[in-house]
């Protein structure tokens, strides 16, 4: 039995530590530990609730817009404030493009290197790679020249000896199995992805002002003025500029990202058997279609014990959701042991060092009706699929057909409950969101053309105490912000973020969180190079970023001065 500690598991941010016990090439037990204090929401207590989102947006530099949105929705929920349809559509378009950007980064830049062996690329046959790529879709940039130029980049990097990002890959690991040609195709798309992320990001920027911090939200709607003929507002030119960007982003998702994930997934079918972990799923509905948020384009609900009957709630405002969420502190470095509802939640540090049977992480243990839940794209897709949501079914069935034909055996919707299933579910979700981008753009334009230019309903704060919850089905899963406002001032504020659900420690009953449970039974061929652990943990897209970001002055400066 070997005990292995793995520190920089998150390639975005390095505050996650995973401890695993390995026995006979397989993991027996696992512990997820976040090494960074996470009580940042306390900074909002005592402030004006209308400004809370500005601070919430700074919790994490990767998830700025999602925290901003959940925050304004929480205050609107407390006030029972409806927001104009234009504001819903504008917010939805921002959220869709943020998610598209985020999913593409996750696959190509944060996790592809767990599956794609870059160092085989110099051996790839360029002609064969191009024809493989062309067989996957009609994408216009799968030519021999594109493949050759991508291959030359790898050769150049290898020759220079400056491997940079590629210095730490597990190249040549026995668990790497794609052909050099498929590796080359994936890498060519890795390079192209940056360009398309920038276009998705530009949509966010046109609506929201500069990225990464959008400026256009406000409690009650958005601050964008709409006048189709004015130069200073959201006008016809800007709307069609956005449309032209959507028209460039959508093909990248449908013709590049989606087919690439299907090929990688079909080439590693054994990874549909590992990494399921917690099989209770939670997703909140999102992309509201009207001002009261009574109907949504993405359904929500809960699925328990890998079942197929969706229960829970239809809208995020429904009572079951509001009542069911608690956070258990038994194994987290905070004072107290009992499960707390977020409106009554406390965040007082009690650091004890890593104690396997005691407290061992800064992450609280969120529970739904007392049960651990997995959140994220798999929850999203399973909830949609089992509630008969047509768009989810269409893209899921398409993905499963493609994967099955590569794998040479049938991969089913149940197989999505796995390490590889998370990548596939994310690609399905992206394909759906890409389709919805055009729909929401059209809905916005139609609404404006009907003569509706409203974007904002002003909030009014009552004298007494009010409570609200704002939810968003974010790229990493269900996000909820919980606010208590007393006489117009924030009295309590808790953010229950997707990574908290998934990186949750054990609770008072000893039930592990999704990361921990997903690692049990996971293979580990070589404990010194635990690639398989990274595959499973990365599949969740961990983001521990709600933290500090100084530059560690370890490198040698070219100039240094002491200020006297």
């Amino acid at each position: 039995m070997a005990r292995v500690s793995i520190d920089p598991v998150t390639r975005i941010e390095g505050h996650l530590r995973i401890d695993v016990q390995v026995d006979g090439g397989s993991i027996r037990d696992a512990w997820a530990c976040c090494t960074m204090w996470r009580g940042i929401e306390r900074i909002i207590v005592g402030r004006d609730p209308s400004e809370a989102w500005f601070f919430a947006q700074r919790f994490c530099g990767v998830c700025t817009t999602v925290h901003a949105t959940a925050s304004v929705r929480a205050v609107e929920d407390a006030l029972k404030l409806e927001i104009p349809p234009n504001a819903q559509f504008i917010r939805n378009l921002i959220l869709i493009h943020h998610a598209l950007h985020d999913h593409v980064v996750h696959f190509y830049h944060l996790s592809a290197l767990d599956w794609v062996d870059i160092m085989t690329i110099p051996k790839a046959d360029v002609v064969k790679a191009a024809s493989t790529a062309q067989s996957l879709s009609d994408w216009t940039r799968n030519s021999r020249q594109e493949m050759k130029s991508a291959q030359d980049k790898v050769i150049g990097v290898a020759k220079s000896g400056q491997l940079g990002l590629f210095a730490n890959g597990y190249w040549g690991h026995p668990a790497m199995r794609l052909s050099p040609e498929v590796n080359l195709v994936a890498f060519a798309h890795y390079l192209q992805a940056l360009e398309f992320q920038r276009k998705a990001n530009q949509v966010v920027a046109i609506f929201g002002g500069k990225t990464p911090h959008i400026q256009n939200l406000t409690v009650g709607g958005v601050a964008n003025a709409i006048n189709l003929d004015s130069l200073a507002t959201l006008n016809t030119d800007r709307l069609y500029w956005i449309k032209s960007l959507i028209d460039e982003v959508v093909p990248f998702i449908h013709q590049v990202y989606f087919p690439d994930v299907c090929v990688v997934a079909g080439s590693y079918p054994e990874w549909f058997a590992y990494g399921s972990g917690v099989k209770n799923y939670l997703a909140v509905p999102d992309l509201p279609r009207d001002s009261r948020a009574s109907s949504y384009d993405l359904p929500g609900g809960v699925l328990m014990d890998a079942g197929s009957s969706v229960a829970g709630f239809k809208t995020a405002a429904d009572q079951p959701f509001r009542d069911a969420v608690t956070e258990d502190l038994t194994h987290a470095w905070y004072k107290g042991n009992e499960a707390q509802h977020p409106w009554k939640g406390t965040t007082e540090a009690e650091f004890t060092d890593f104690q396997e049977k005691g407290k061992y992480t800064w992450v609280k243990a969120p529970r739904y009706g007392g049960k651990p839940m997995q959140v994220g794209p798999v929850a999203n897709i399973l909830v949609g699929y089992h509630s008969g949501h047509a768009l989810t079914r269409k893209w899921t069935d398409l993905a499963l057909d493609r994967i099955s034909s590569v794998a040479g055996r049938r991969i089913t919707v149940n197989d999505l409950q796995s390490t590889m299933g998370r990548h596939v579910a994310r690609a399905i979700r992206a394909a759906m969101l890409a389709e919805l981008a055009t729909e929401h753009w059209t809905a916005l334009l139609n609404n404006i053309n009907r003569g509706d230019a409203a974007t904002h309903n002003p909030p009014q704060f009552p004298r007494g105490e009010i409570e609200g919850v704002g939810t968003h089905e974010a790229p990493r899963g269900t996000l909820s912000h919980w606010v208590v406002v007393d006489r117009g001032v924030v009295k309590n504020y808790q953010a229950v973020v997707p990574t908290t659900w998934n990186a949750s420690p054990r609770d008072k009953d000893g039930h592990p969180g999704p990361y921990e449970a997903s690692l049990v039974g996971n293979p580990v061929a070589n404990a010194e190079a635990p690639l398989e652990v990274l595959r499973t943990v990365h599949s969740f897209d961990p983001c521990m970023a709600c933290a500090c970001h100084t530059f560690d002055a370890a490198g040698r400066p070219i100039a240094q001065m002491k200020i006297l």
Binding site: P8, E13, F54, L191, R198, G555, I558, A559, K562, L564
Partner: protein, 171 residues
């Protein structure tokens, strides 16, 4: 010179002196004017998304808080110092994101070709929305160090006769 230049403040404004970068970026916007090819931005803590901002420009000056260096120190790092040996070797992740972002941006489009990080030692990185007094007193020196890097690249900046209000809204 028509090189596109990005001057970007990095850091979390909710974490005390980690706000050095954003604060300086906003100080530059309020007190100075720059030619159109120069963009000054408060980018917060963008992780790997930094690559998107880097890949659109030729020259990048990052302003950041430093730790692991003596107080009252300003230091300037070049691309080699930012990138060498910094890939997945440590828990410190922001530096990791800077190195990875530069690597990806250059791999995809050969930009940016000129990168500097200009940093000032922070004192306290506890939760809070104010710079420590000692750091605040050193901000003018850090601003001068950033302007000197611009001057060295023939970027003509001017001081605003009437400064705009400094929008450090988190304070």
């Amino acid at each position: 010179v028509s090189h596109r230049v990005l001057v970007a403040g990095l850091g979390n404004v909710l974490m005390g002196d980690d706000a050095i970068g954003p604060y300086c970026a906003r100080h530059l916007m309020a007190h100075y004017q720059f030619p159109p090819q120069v963009e000054v931005a408060d980018l917060g803590t963008p992780g790997l998304d930094l690559a998107l901002h880097l890949s659109a420009v030729d020259v990048v000056l990052l302003i950041d808080a430093l730790r692991g260096i003596e107080q009252d120190t300003i230091a300037v790092y070049d691309r080699a110092a930012l990138c060498d040996g910094r890939h997945l070797t440590r828990l410190d992740t922001h530096s990791l994101a800077v190195a990875e972002s530069i690597f990806i941006a250059r791999l995809a489009g050969d930009r940016p070709f000129d990168v500097r990080l200009i940093g000032l030692a922070g004192v306290s990185f506890e939760h809070g929305t104010r710079l420590s007094p000692k750091v605040r007193a050193r901000i003018p020196s850090l601003i001068q160090a950033v302007l000197a890097e611009l001057t060295a690249r023939n970027v003509r900046w001017t001081r605003r006769a009437r400064p705009l209000p400094l929008n450090a809204w988190w304070e």
